[in-house]
């Protein structure tokens, strides 16, 4: 309904929010299993799939819907952590969680502001 740029922005925001939510589950799983021997940490691959999009945006060019097809958040497993590296695992996961939480809330804020611009237009400037 709102035009192509709007639809692309909303799509990207939704996918990024999905990815951040899945990533939090992966981090929570890694934290719950921090003392489990032979555990392979879970990761979510999403931003890595969008390297081409990032460079397009940095050059200032718009994104077409075709560029977004086939990109989706994927749950992956890393190699099993060795016993000697296990002590750093918990700290790394907590740092990842802080970063992911900020990313999620930033995306929510951006989505909220985006919607409020649209609602300002729809409400014709009246409250």
């Amino acid at each position: 309904m709102f035009g192509q740029t709007e639809a692309i922005t909303l799509d990207m925001l939704k996918m990024a929010l999905d990815a951040a939510s899945l990533r939090h589950q992966a981090i929570a799983n890694n934290i719950a299993n921090v003392n489990t021997p032979g555990y392979a940490p879970a990761r979510v691959s999403f931003e890595a799939q969008m390297g081409a999009l990032r460079s397009t945006l940095q050059q200032g060019n718009p994104i077409t819907p075709g560029m977004l097809s086939g990109i989706r958040p994927v749950l992956e497993r890393e190699a099993v952590v060795q016993e000697s590296d296990r002590t750093a695992l918990l700290d790394k996961e907590i740092v990842n969680m802080a970063q992911n939480t900020v990313q999620y809330e930033a995306l929510l804020k951006a989505l909220g502001k985006h919607m409020s611009i649209l609602s300002a237009a729809v409400a014709e400037g009246k409250r």
Partner: protein, 99 residues
């Protein structure tokens, strides 16, 4: 002596009253000015959208700039809406004038 002081101050005081550099005084048609403002708002909105897409694509190097752009775009949009509302009100007032 006092008369000289007043005439010394008056010409230099006025330029300081114009801090905004993108509000050009409407020279010529008001319509062209308004259209220019609309396209400026459009540019700002596209710029803000661009920043949001960068954020969603994982490029978080400019988080504060994205938020600032979004807020600026919203304020510009609201400003343009207010101007449009006042214009419409003025137009309605004109229509209702008894000849």
């Amino acid at each position: 002596m006092s008369i000289d002081a007043v005439s010394f101050l008056a010409p230099t005081a006025l330029p300081m009253l114009n801090p905004l550099d993108n509000t050009a005084a409407p020279s010529g048609q008001f319509a062209t000015w308004f259209t220019q403002q609309l396209s400026d708002v459009n540019t700002q909105l596209i710029h803000a959208d661009h920043g949001v897409q960068q954020l969603a694509a994982g490029d978080a190097s400019n988080l504060h700039q994205v938020m600032i752009n979004l807020e600026e775009a919203k304020l510009s949009m609201q400003l343009v809406m207010q101007v449009r509302n006042h214009l419409l009100d003025a137009y309605h007032d004109l229509l209702q004038m008894q000849v």
